[in-house]
């Protein structure tokens, strides 16, 4: 009898254990691949930081999901002086931090100056432009004064680096700011962070100042969000399939079809994600100094096959250096882009005097067509580089691959040791990309191509300082044409934003600012 009772007790206990706990209706778990090193907006460049900071904080202006339209943020309106040197932002009234303290123009000034302060050592301070001063005119007005016009400024101010922080909070936490806590003005407030495990945030009940392009400007529908780090791709996938996670943008490409077929999961995709993978050339190093070689190598690579075979058709093959959907893309370039054509590539190399040796690898004047490519270690770049290597062999180019751990790779990529390199990057505009990668002063990094060209620098200065869009676009179009014609990169693919979420949630609109698919999370909610 005692035995039977124990057995029944054990059965009841184990059944209770296996029943799902009743989760709070308005709480979601978001699974993601990696964590950030910290959540200090002015110090971290990690996408994982941006994902959370957009929710826990606000920027002066925001970016709509089309990735082109700058909308209101903490500022409800703004004016730009005719010479493009002074931006005047008018702040929304009644904005407060999570702890209830009102947010004022002084906080804006402190945050933006902290971004560019050399003591902060922000790796992205350049994104704030050449600042002369940032001044609080009154409690609700801020003047952003530049030494030189910066046509990209509003776009840059939408990034998480421009998040407005609480001076008292920064000073109180010191080195632990963004580690032990974060007091922001966003729709969600910091609760706790266990590095590499989970970040928990709760709804800011006072939040009513969300960007106007959101259906809901606040407070958020969800009460609590748990950002759970799950490094294993297969575990993330089944977590969404089984409802243990409610949403993720870190969907392995192999699993997208499976998730699309699942009745309890919805998958949404946006091609306006603006995250491009490419392989670049050091244009002054043999054997890739020859523009014919670079163009032929571009023609040899089969981007469509890579997209289909390696990424199951879930990425967009790239032929342009930035997405053709960016606001300042030049449609006139569409017909000039290099597309897969092995015969033409072979013909070009033959004509240029590159002859095949006994091993099939081409040689000219004693120089062997065997460039060394540095890439990041890991399955993504490993797969891409091997596919490119196989394609290049078809035209007699023996690319040698050297893979480095990320902690070593950045240092290696700042040297002149290699001929080619693999890289991926997020962006909003072509102008931003060109200013980052093609300015002479940015050699050796991030201008790893050693692209030193006075005309390019002049055009980039013109584009950056232009106060009318026509002049700005004209300058950038010319640079786009120059670098595409010189074949300084082999574009591989544009990565779309793919978000998988529970079918009983309202449709999710993917956002793409710095790759943060859920942006402010204001419209995330369960269906009634």
């Amino acid at each position: 009898m005692t035995c039977n009772r124990s057995l029944i007790g054990a059965l009841v206990a184990s059944t209770a254990l296996m029943l799902p706990t009743l989760a709070a209706a308005q709480e979601i778990t978001i699974v993601r691949e990696v964590d950030s090193n910290n959540y200090d907006p002015q110090r971290s460049v990690a996408r994982a930081a941006a994902e959370a900071l957009f929710m826990m904080g606000d920027t002066l202006v925001s970016l709509e999901p089309d990735m082109q339209t700058v909308s209101d943020g903490l500022a409800h309106s703004w004016e730009v002086s005719d010479d493009g040197l002074v931006y005047t932002f008018h702040l929304k009234e009644g904005v407060s931090f999570c702890d209830g303290k009102p947010m004022t123009a002084d906080d804006v000034v402190f945050s933006l100056k902290r971004w560019i302060d050399p003591a902060t050592a922000s790796p992205v301070a350049w994104r704030a432009g050449d600042v002369e001063d940032i001044v609080a005119i009154d409690e609700l007005t801020v003047e952003y004064r530049l030494n030189a016009p910066f046509s990209e400024l509003l776009y840059q101010l939408t990034q998480s680096f421009g998040t407005i922080v609480d001076r008292d909070n920064v000073e109180a936490l010191g080195e632990d700011f963004g580690i032990a806590g974060f007091n922001g003005t966003g729709p969600f407030c910091w609760v706790s962070w266990a590095p590499r495990d989970q970040l928990v945030m709760e709804r800011n009940p006072n939040y009513t100042w969300g960007p106007s392009f959101y259906e809901n400007q606040g407070p958020a529908h969800l009460e609590r969000i748990v950002w759970q780090v799950v490094p294993e791709a297969s575990t993330r996938t089944v977590a969404v399939l089984t409802g243990q996670s409610d949403i993720t943008q870190y969907v392995p490409h192999i699993a997208v079809a499976q998730l699309m077929d699942a009745p309890n999961v919805e998958v949404v995709r946006s091609d306006e994600a603006f995250w491009t993978y490419f392989m670049g050339f050091k244009i002054d190093k043999d054997p890739v100094a020859d523009p014919v070689v670079r163009a032929a190598m571009n023609l040899a690579v089969d981007q469509e096959a890579i997209a289909e075979d390696l990424f199951f058709g879930m990425v967009e093959p790239a032929f342009s250096y930035v997405s053709q959907a960016v606001v300042d893309w030049d449609p006139g370039l569409d017909d000039r882009l290099l597309r897969h054509d092995v015969d033409e590539a072979n013909r070009m190399l033959d004509e240029a005097g590159w002859e095949r040796g006994a091993d099939g690898v081409r040689v000219r004047d004693g120089v062997r067509l065997a460039p060394t490519a540095y890439i990041f270690a890991g399955s993504t770049w490993g797969g891409i580089a091997e596919a490119v290597q196989a394609d290049l062999l078809k035209i007699g180019v023996a690319m040698e691959i050297e893979a480095f751990d990320a902690t070593v790779a950045w240092g290696k990529l700042a040297t002149q040791e290699f001929d080619m390199f693999g890289m991926s990057f997020p962006y909003i505009t072509a102008g931003e990309t060109l200013n980052l990668y093609f300015r002479s002063q940015n050699v050796p990094t991030p201008n790893r191509m050693n692209w030193i060209d006075e005309r390019t620098d002049e055009l980039l200065r013109t584009g950056m300082a232009a106060t009318d869009q026509e002049a700005q676009f004209a300058a950038y179009h010319e640079v786009l044409g120059k670098v595409h014609d010189a074949a300084v990169w082999i574009p591989i693919f544009h990565e779309p934003m793919i978000i998988a979420y529970r079918a009983d949630m309202a449709p999710v609109v993917p956002h793409n600012n710095y790759g943060a698919g859920l942006y402010k999370g204001l419209d995330l909610r369960f269906l009634d």
């Binding site: 050592a121 490094p231 902690t407």
Partner: protein, 313 residues
Amino acid sequence: MIETIVNRLLLSIPVLLGVLILGFVLVQVAPGDPARVLAGPMAPPEVVATIRERMGLDDPIVVQFMRYMGRLMQGDLGRSLISNKTVISELGAAIGPTVELMFACLIWSIPAGIAMGTLAAVWRGSLVDRVIMAFSVAGVSLPIFFICLVLIQYLGVKWQLLPFIGRGGPLWTVDGLRHIALPALSLGLIFIGPVARMTRSSVLEVLRLDHVRTARAKGLSERAVILRHGLRNALIPVITLIGLQAGYLLGGAVVTETIFSYPGIGRLAVGAILSADFPLTQGAILVLALAFILINMIVDILYALLDPRVQKK
């Protein structure tokens, strides 16, 4: 007994020193540059060089090791290069979940292993014996990651009985129990095999001894003979094995915690290694080594308690 404990403690010192030296050297030769990690990916080479100099990374390795030992003696393990949290606080947050996982694993797998081994011994040669031994061999042979994935597939995905991500909460909460169930089950399955096999052979050996025959001759029930006179004496080698295997469980926990995204010391160590967080890696190695030494010391002491001959030796 005190002498035994003191001896074990003294013997632990050179072992710990060896682990510290080995861990330090391994971290030094591993790919990755702590200065680059600290400076960030976009930092120019001169900034990285300044940080290298500030951190003393250009000093000879012996100087660096002595500096590390000096800080260690003061209880300073440094700060994580990634999170800037103190290594001690990061380790402190991860030790609790791992201890819970070990406890949840051992609490069911030790009794299960002993029970299975005893049953196999009592019904030696029967179908029960063969099934139990086949199960034990599978537990010993199958890699832990495979067991984890199979359990996730069936208990987590197909039947959706248990969660398989994260911790959920402390062990004494329902959510904590639900979340720890699958990792503890996975880890326990690799533990049962050796325990069951050792128990079986040990019980078989004891059942042949004179005192067991005497007990039977006295007219005791078979159950009393096995439990009181057989199993009790058979447990001494089993306890030794449990101690040794508990140490190896720490290795299994590294894989299990990673697959189940369980925030313990194993996952912390993997994360630290992958992100080239050297101070945290060294701290995790130190904690794992200490745990291994501690477990073995407890086993030695238990062994001495159970078998007075060991103390005499």
